[in-house]
Amino acid sequence: MDPVFFYRNPETPHARGGDLHGLRIAIQPNISVAGWPTEAGSKALVDFTALEDATVVQRLRRAGASVCGSTRMSEFGFGLQDSKAGEALRQQTADAELVMDLMGESRLAASRAAVCGFKPSYGLVSRFGLIGLIPSMECCGMLSARLRSIRDILKAVAGQDELDFSLPDEETPDFSRRDIDPREATIGVIAEAQDTLPTEQQEMFRASLDELKEAGFSLRDVSLPDFSLFSVVHRIIGSVEASSCAGRYDSVRYGHREPGARNWNDMYLLSRGAAFGPLLKSYLFQGAFFQFERYDAYEDACRIRARLLADMQRLASQADFLVLPAGNCAASGALPTLAGTYTQFASTVFANVTGQPALYLPPASDAAHPGFQLAGPRLSDALLLAMGEHILNIRQGGK
C-alpha cells in the first residue's frame, strides 16, 4: 500500500502544451476522474468508480497538466487526521495538489508541508464531480511550493460551468499577474482572532506582523467581536449539510454493505453504521439532531452567518486585506473529536463561512519568518495571490 497515494495514474502523460504544460498535479479521491477509484476516504464509497470527469479535471488536462494520481484523504475531506495532503509535494512526486477545503484543510495541510495553500472564493470554481460534504462551505483548494503554479491552476479551472448552475452569474476575474504597491495597501489585524492562540503562536504571529510592516504595508487594528462564532456557525450548518449529503450512502448501488440485514431499513442502518468512521459519524449525528430536533438553532446559525458576512464586509471598507494566524496543525490527539478538530481550524474556518479567498504563506526557508494567513474580500483572488508573490519575492531579496 502506497503511504501517500491512494491511486496513481498508470498512463504516462503526453505533451499537450498550454499554461500548465508539464505540471504534475495530484488530486484527492473525492474529485471524479472517469474510471478512477473514487472513494472519498470513506468505506461508504468503497470500490466506487467515477463515471465522468469533474470539471476541474477536464480543465486541468485541457491546460496541459498531467493529473498524476490521488492522495489519501480523511473521510469526505473532513479534517486532516487521515489526510496525506502536501506529502506528494514534500516527496516531489507532484508539483501541485488539489485539496478539498471544508474548514481550512488546504491551508492547514500547506502549513504542515511548509508550502503555499490557497482557498479560492466560493463560487469561482465548479463543484461538478466533487464529492462533497458541506456544499455551502467547501471548495477546491490548491497547494504548491510556487504561487505562480497556484495562479496558473486557478486561471485554468475558474469560471462559469454549464454543469454547475450553483456558480453565481459573475464575470470571471482577471488572473494575470499584477504588481502590488505596499504604500497603497492596508492590512487589517483582527484583534479577536488572536484571543485563543497559545502564547508561542501569539509571538509567531507578532513576528509576521513585523515582516509585513518591514515590507512597507500599513497595518490597522480592526475588530470583529464575534470572531469565535465562525466555528459555532460552521459546526451547526456544516453538520446539517453533511447529514443531508451523506444521506445518499445507503449501500444499495455502491459502497460497503453489511451482511445480515432482514429488510431494507435494517440494511440501511447496519451498512451506514459500519461504513462511517467515528469522527464523521458524530458529525452526522449532530447534523441529524439539528435537522430533526433543533431546527430553530439551525435557523439561528443561518442568521448569525448572514451577520458575520456583513461584519466581514464592514472590515473590507477598513482594510484591503486581513492577516490571520495560520491555524494549529499539531493539536489533534490520537482519537480525533469534533471539538478537537474545530480547535485545529479555529483560524481558518472564517473563510469557509463567508466564502472569501484565503492564502497560507509558509515560513521563510531560513526560518527568519513564520508562516501566516492572508485573506481578502470575495473575488479578490488575483490580488491576494499577487500579495503573496510580492511578500515571497521580498524574502528572496527582490523588491
Binding site: 463543484r127 461538478f128 456544499p135 454543469l163 450553483s166 443531508s244 445518499r248 435537522q291
Partner: protein
C-alpha cells in the same frame, strides 16, 4: 350533535415538460422502466442538480393561471426522509419559500350558490421514483423505476375552505380545466398526472374550532375523491359520537371496499434549505412577459363568448372549458358559421363523435373548414339536418369535400313542390285518421304527416316545404 366537515386539498400536478426538473433526462411516463436516468436523477456522488428553465416557466404559468401571486424570491429545501424511492435521502421541495402565494378558484356549491376556494400557496418539487410491488413466487418483492425520479411537479395547497365532497369535486374539475388551458399539464388522475391528498376534520356545526385532521390518499379519480371524503366524514363523525378521539394519521382510499384504511402515522420530516440549487429570483419584467403568454382563462372566455356570440351562460361555459373545443368553435365562426349553429353542432354532434372514435378534436379529419362547408349547405337549405348528420359521419372516413359527398350520395334535399305534390297526395290518402285529427285542430298529427312524407321521400324532402304544402292542401279540403 350535528357535525360539519373542514376539508383542505393538496394537489400534486405533474408538469408536461420535455425533461426532468434537475437534469436533461426525458420526462416520458410510459417508457420502459429505468431508461430515462442519469447520474443526476440517480444522485450519484459528485452530481449537481441543474434546475430546468422550462419547469420554472410551466410552473409559473400555472400559478398565474390560478390567479396566484408569484413570489420575487423562492428556494428549494430538502425534505429529509429515508425510503427506497428516494436515493439521496431527501426530496427537493419548496417548504419555506414557495413559488407563489394566494390565488383562488370559483365554484358552485351543492345549493347552487357561488363559492370561492382560496389557494394558500403553490410550490415546486421533484417527483420520487415509482415503487412496484410484486410477487416472485411466494416472496413479495419491490421494484424501483427511476424514470419518474426528478419529474417536475407543482403542489397546490388550498385553504381548508371545503365543507362537502361536492365542493372538492367541483374544485378539482375547475382546476383541471384551468391548468389544461394554460398548457402546463394534462391533469389526469387516471394517469397519475394529478394526485390529490385530502385533509379532513370535523367539528360541531356552528363552531370555528380546528380539530385534528386525517390525511387521505390514493384516490385515482375525481369521483373517488368525493367518495373518500364522504366516507371519512362519516367515519370521523361516528368515532366522535362514540367518544373516541381522532388522531393525526394518514389513510388510504380502497376503491374496492369503498373505505379508507389506516396507513401510518403522518410523517413530518425536517426541511432544510438546499445549498446546491440557487434561489429563484423572478423580476417583475419576467413575470409580466410570462403573463403576456397566458392564454385567456375559461371563466373570462365564457363571459366573452356569451357577450360576443349571444350564447346562453351554459353554452358559453361548455364551449370554453376545453381550450381545443373553444378554439374549434371560434374557427367555425371565422369560416362563416352562425354562432348558435356552431355551438349546437359542436357540442351535440362533433365532440361526442370524436370521443366515440377515440380521436382528438385538433387532429380529427373533420377540420373546421369541412364542418363549416357542411353547415353552410344546411343553412342554405341545400340539405336537411338528417342528411347533414349523415354527411358528418362520412366526413370521418372520407377525404372528399362535403359538397362532393352530398352530390355523390344524393343527399341534396328536394324543395321542388311539383316533385313533392304526388308524395303528399299519397300520404294524405293513406292516413285519413291523421288528416281528420289535423282538421279538428290536433297539432301533433301534423308532425306525423310530415314524417310520413319525409319517409316516402327517402329522407331528402325539405321539411319546411312539406309543411307549407300540407298546410295549403288541408286548408283547401277542410
Amino acid at each position: 350533535m350535528e357535525f360539519e366537515a373542514v376539508i383542505g386539498l393538496e394537489i400534486h400536478v405533474e408538469l408536461n415538460c420535455a425533461t426532468k426538473m434537475f437534469c436533461d433526462c426525458p420526462n416520458r411516463p410510459g417508457d420502459e422502466p429505468n431508461v430515462n436516468t442519469c447520474p443526476i436523477c440517480l444522485w450519484f456522488p459528485g452530481a449537481i442538480p441543474r434546475f430546468s428553465q422550462e419547469a420554472l416557466e410551466k410552473a409559473s404559468l400555472l400559478c398565474l393561471g390560478l390567479g396566484a401571486e408569484l413570489q420575487p424570491r423562492s428556494a428549494f429545501d430538502q425534505k429529509v426522509y429515508y425510503y427506497p424511492d428516494l436515493p439521496k435521502g431527501y426530496q427537493l421541495s419548496q417548504a419555506h419559500l414557495p413559488l407563489s402565494r394566494g390565488g383562488a378558484i370559483d365554484i358552485v356549491d351543492e345549493e347552487g350558490n357561488p363559492k370561492t376556494i382560496r389557494i394558500h400557496h403553490i410550490h415546486m418539487e421533484e417527483d420520487v421514483a415509482r415503487l412496484v410491488h410484486e410477487m416472485e413466487g411466494r416472496l413479495p418483492i419491490s421494484l424501483v423505476d427511476f424514470n419518474r425520479a426528478g419529474v417536475p411537479l407543482v403542489e397546490i395547497v388550498t385553504e381548508p375552505d371545503f365543507r362537502a365532497p361536492h365542493e372538492a369535486m367541483e374544485f378539482l374539475r375547475a382546476l383541471r380545466t384551468q391548468v389544461r388551458s394554460v398548457g402546463s399539464s394534462e391533469c389526469s388522475m387516471e394517469n397519475g398526472t394529478m394526485r390529490v391528498d385530502a385533509n379532513i376534520s370535523i367539528r360541531p356545526r356552528g363552531t370555528t374550532q380546528m380539530s385534528t385532521k386525517v390525511e387521505v390518499k390514493n384516490m385515482n379519480s375525481i369521483r373517488h375523491v368525493g367518495d373518500a371524503i364522504a366516507y371519512e366524514i362519516g367515519r370521523q363523525s361516528a368515532a366522535v359520537q362514540a367518544g373516541e378521539a381522532v388522531v393525526l394519521h394518514t389513510r388510504l382510499w380502497d376503491p374496492d371496499r369503498k373505505a379508507t384504511l389506516p396507513m401510518r402515522a403522518k410523517f413530518e420530516g425536517p426541511c432544510v434549505p438546499d445549498p446546491a440549487v440557487p434561489a429563484i429570483e423572478l423580476s417583475p419584467d419576467w413575470i409580466e412577459e410570462l403573463r403576456a403568454h397566458l392564454p385567456e382563462m375559461p371563466a373570462a372566455k365564457a363571459e366573452r363568448f356569451a357577450a360576443q356570440y349571444a350564447l346562453t351562460a351554459d353554452e358559453a361555459r361548455s364551449l370554453s372549458s376545453d381550450p381545443e373545443v373553444a378554439g374549434y368553435f371560434e374557427a367555425l365562426i371565422e369560416q362563416g358559421t352562425a354562432p348558435r349553429t356552431a355551438a349546437h353542432w359542436l357540442t351535440t354532434q362533433l365532440v361526442p363523435a370524436v370521443r366515440d372514435r377515440r380521436q382528438e378534436l385538433g387532429s380529427s379529419p373533420v377540420t373546421p373548414a369541412r364542418l363549416a362547408a357542411l353547415l353552410r349547405m344546411l343553412a342554405q337549405d341545400e340539405i336537411n339536418a338528417n342528411a347533414a348528420r349523415e354527411v358528418l359521419v362520412q366526413l370521418f372516413d372520407s377525404s372528399e369535400a362535403p359538397e362532393a359527398i352530398v352530390s355523390a350520395r344524393g343527399f341534396r334535399q328536394v324543395s321542388d313542390p311539383t316533385a313533392l305534390d304526388s308524395l303528399i297526395d299519397k300520404v294524405l290518402e293513406a292516413q285519413p285518421a291523421a288528416v281528420a285529427d289535423v282538421q279538428s285542430g290536433r297539432g301533433k298529427a301534423m308532425g306525423f304527416l310530415i314524417g310520413q312524407v319525409m319517409q316516402a321521400s327517402g329522407g331528402k324532402a325539405n321539411p319546411k316545404v312539406i309543411r307549407e304544402l300540407l298546410t295549403r292542401k288541408l286548408d283547401a279540403t277542410s
